[in-house]
């Protein structure tokens, strides 16, 4: 196997796949990137057995073939090479000779036949989704994914395809983010699939704002994405996602219009006086004003008052500051609406698009 390739194109390709490389040292081949050369293209693939990514980059292939090389080491070498033209030859023992200007490297690889094969996509349901839509939806939901491994069905985003609608939901049991979008697909394709966190992170790296449509495929145990010359495949999280419909509150007693950035900055400042022991901010609504406050018995207190339009009876509610700021940071609308029932019921942030964020309050005893 033999090819010439542009340094920057090679590096960009390797960097797209290197995050998946396994940290498990017990199966060395998972630390390697699979390199397959054919038809003027190099295909670069990495996997940790749960998630796999592959990208294609242009190359001048003189001799077809495949091998695997240690991914992280290869990236550090390619990044440092002195000129843009690289020549790589792989011998029958999977040793790679890398020549670039005056530099020469020889690195030892492993036989590509030992690299785990890609999943079988026989009988997959297929969906076509605009990249911008998915990128936007992931941004609005992924921060709410649970990191608690004992609640493993929550360690991902649930995608529900039904009635030409895609509903994406993430929750950690204390807050829940949901985006609804129109996507066309045949009625027989209706499916619910939980995409694991690691795949969500990789997907966010691969998605381009100005990219075209991507193709998503779902089999019984795999979910894959094909976009911009790359493939992402991942195991699905097995199990049933909780019935999130039942936790979305009904009609609110109050709807409050808030300026997103003003609220975000105020909560952020006040939260500087929250602490591990006392991790809440209190929102007190009175006529035409909102007072945000925090106090920690051994540290001190902070408060900030915002002018708002509020005519209801005075009420207070306490939230975890991080849970309050997360959606505000990841939205771009100027105005958000906060729907409230009472101090013990979930609050809901909404915008003028099909999005909502349910947040459970904190019960504070005095």
């Amino acid at each position: 196997m033999k090819f010439q390739i542009d340094r920057d194109a090679f590096l960009a390709g390797l960097q797209q796949v290197q995050h998946v490389v396994s940290t498990r040292t017990t199966l060395p081949i998972l630390s390697n990137v699979l390199i397959q050369a054919t038809d003027g293209m190099l295909r670069l693939t990495t996997t940790d057995l749960d998630v796999g990514v592959s990208v294609s980059v242009k190359a001048n292939v003189e001799e077809d073939g495949s091998t695997t090389l240690p991914a992280r080491r290869l990236v550090t070498i390619i990044r440092e090479l002195p000129s843009t033209e690289i020549q790589i030859d792989i011998d029958a023992d999977n040793a790679a000779s890398i020549r670039c200007g005056p530099s020469f490297f020889k690195i030892l690889g492993l036989n590509s036949e030992e690299f785990p094969p890609p999943p079988d996509l026989e009988g997959a349901r297929e969906f076509t989704i605009p990249q911008k839509l998915l990128k936007d939806s992931l941004k609005k939901t992924s921060y709410a994914i649970s990191t608690d491994e004992t609640r493993y069905v929550l360690n991902g985003i649930n995608c529900s395809f039904k009635n030409n609608t895609l509903i994406m939901v993430a929750t950690d049991g204390r807050r829940l983010a949901m985006v609804e979008s129109e996507v066309e697909f045949p009625a027989g394709n209706e499916v619910d699939v939980i995409i694991p966190t690691k795949a969500v992170n990789e997907l966010q790296r691969l998605l381009k704002e100005d990219g075209g449509d991507l193709r998503m495929r779902v089999t019984d145990n795999q979910v894959t994405f094909e976009l911009n010359n790359s493939h992402l495949y991942s195991k699905r999280i097995e199990g049933n996602y909780p019935n999130y419909r039942q936790v979305i509150p009904g009609a609110p007693n109050h709807r409050i219009n808030l300026e997103r950035e003003v609220l975000l900055n105020a909560v952020h400042r006040v939260s500087l006086l929250a602490s591990d022991k006392s991790n809440s901010v209190k929102l007190r609504f009175e006529e035409d004003q909102l007072q945000i406050s925090a106090n920690s018995p051994e540290i001190g207190e902070a408060s900030e008052t915002l002018a708002i339009n509020y005519k209801g009876s005075p009420m207070s509610i306490a939230f975890n500051p991080e849970f309050t700021m997360a959606p505000l940071r990841n939205l771009d609308q100027d105005t958000v609406y906060l729907d409230l029932i009472d101090e013990m019921s979930p609050g809901v942030f909404k915008i003028d698009e099909p999005f909502l964020y349910v947040i459970m309050p904190m019960r504070v005893s005095h």
Partner: protein
């Protein structure tokens, strides 16, 4: 290379009771009984008759008619545990208690040899409490725990890093964490009886057979364990589960099996975690199609009726599917939560269908 010590008290509660009543020395003694009617723990004499913790009292009496059954005195055991933890901290602050009578110590980088530290610890425990402890020393937590069983009771054993490669192949797979009778049977069917046999299976193959657990097996059979000793780690839950050789289709059979699991959970809570506050109980079912569901509700102790209701609730969610696994357990309140003045409320509450 790390140096970890696993210290495990021998028959902790029974040993304390025997110290208090030397006249019982040499007799079969158990601690337990009470409303649940099961043994919390028993001494080695009783074990030679076949008595075990979590065993119903009537059964233990049948095996050993002369068994002396003593009531549990948690306050006393907690105090002894506090003294023993104090001894650990004389050597290092990297102490991770697993329960009242068991802990990991990370002694990496200490000047003395780990083996000598372990014998010094056991010596001090004996001097100050009159109790016997066993210890295991190894390059990681998994091997240290394995080693502490080797010279039990009142002994210690070290697996040195350079011995791991020779030591592991002969170890039966049943000794690995998480390998119960069902997994063992599946491994036997693959011709795997020892860790050496297991080492010959590739990671890809193990992953295909056992999913996520496969990669853990792949590491454990080589004596690899990346977990660190974490002084702040606290156990979140205690549970017990059973995978059935043939799937259960009748709820009544499920209720019978649940009773045995609850005995185990209750005696683990009593034997090891009496210092913790129970927050809620849960019942997990795995169905024949490998989907699973968990029902849970707040409860202050192991309440049998509540667990039975949880089992019925979860069972009905299966809509007629047969059940291949039942798990039951309790989740503890975090030690930090106990002193907090504020509580984050949960969206799904206690009756959530799957969590």
């Amino acid at each position: 290379m790390g140096r970890i010590i696993h210290v495990d008290m021998d028959c902790f509660y029974a040993a304390i009771e025997l110290r208090e009543r030397p006249e019982l020395e040499g007799l079969p003694v158990a601690v337990g009984g009470g409303s649940r009617g099961v043994l919390t723990t028993c001494n080695y004499v009783a074990r030679t008759f076949g008595c075990r913790s979590a065993m119903p009292v009537f059964q233990a009496k049948r095996l050993c008619p002369d068994l002396v059954l003593l009531p549990v005195r948690f306050e006393l055991y907690r105090e002894e545990s506090r003294i023993i933890r104090g001894i650990f901290h004389e050597f290092t602050d990297r102490v991770e208690p697993l329960s009242l009578d068991e802990a990991y110590l990370d002694v990496t980088g200490l000047r003395s040899e780990a083996f000598l530290i372990a014998s010094e610890i056991r010596q001090r425990i004996r001097e100050r409490t009159g109790l016997a402890a066993s210890a295991g020393i190894g390059p990681n937590k998994f091997l240290a725990k394995l080693a502490s069983d080797w010279r039990k009771p009142d002994g210690q054993f070290e697996i040195r890093p350079e011995e791991v490669e020779a030591f592991m192949p002969g170890l039966p797979v049943e000794r690995l964490w998480g390998v119960g009778s069902r997994t063992a049977a599946r491994l036997h069917a693959l011709g795997v009886r020892t860790c050496g046999d297991l080492q010959r299976l590739g990671l890809v193959e193990l992953d295909r057979q056992f999913g996520r657990f496969g990669s853990l097996l792949h590491e454990m059979c080589r004596g690899i364990d990346h977990r660190l000793v974490d002084p702040n780690r606290e156990r979140k839950s205690v549970s017990s589960e059973e995978t059935f050789a043939a799937d259960l289709s009748r709820r009544e059979t499920g209720l019978e099996r649940l009773g045995l699991l609850l005995d185990e959970v209750a005696s683990m809570c009593q034997a090891k975690h009496v210092d913790r506050v129970i927050r809620e109980g849960f019942v997990k079912l795995k169905f024949s199609d490998f989907t699973q569901t968990t029902a849970q509700r707040p409860m202050p102790t192991v309440v049998r009726e509540d667990f039975e209701a949880l089992l019925k609730e979860a069972w009905d969610r299966g809509q007629g599917r047969a059940v291949r696994l039942i798990g039951a357990g309790v989740r503890f309140q975090s030690r930090n939560d106990a002193v907090d003045r504020e509580t984050q409320l949960d969206l799904f509450g206690a009756g959530d269908p799957i969590l």
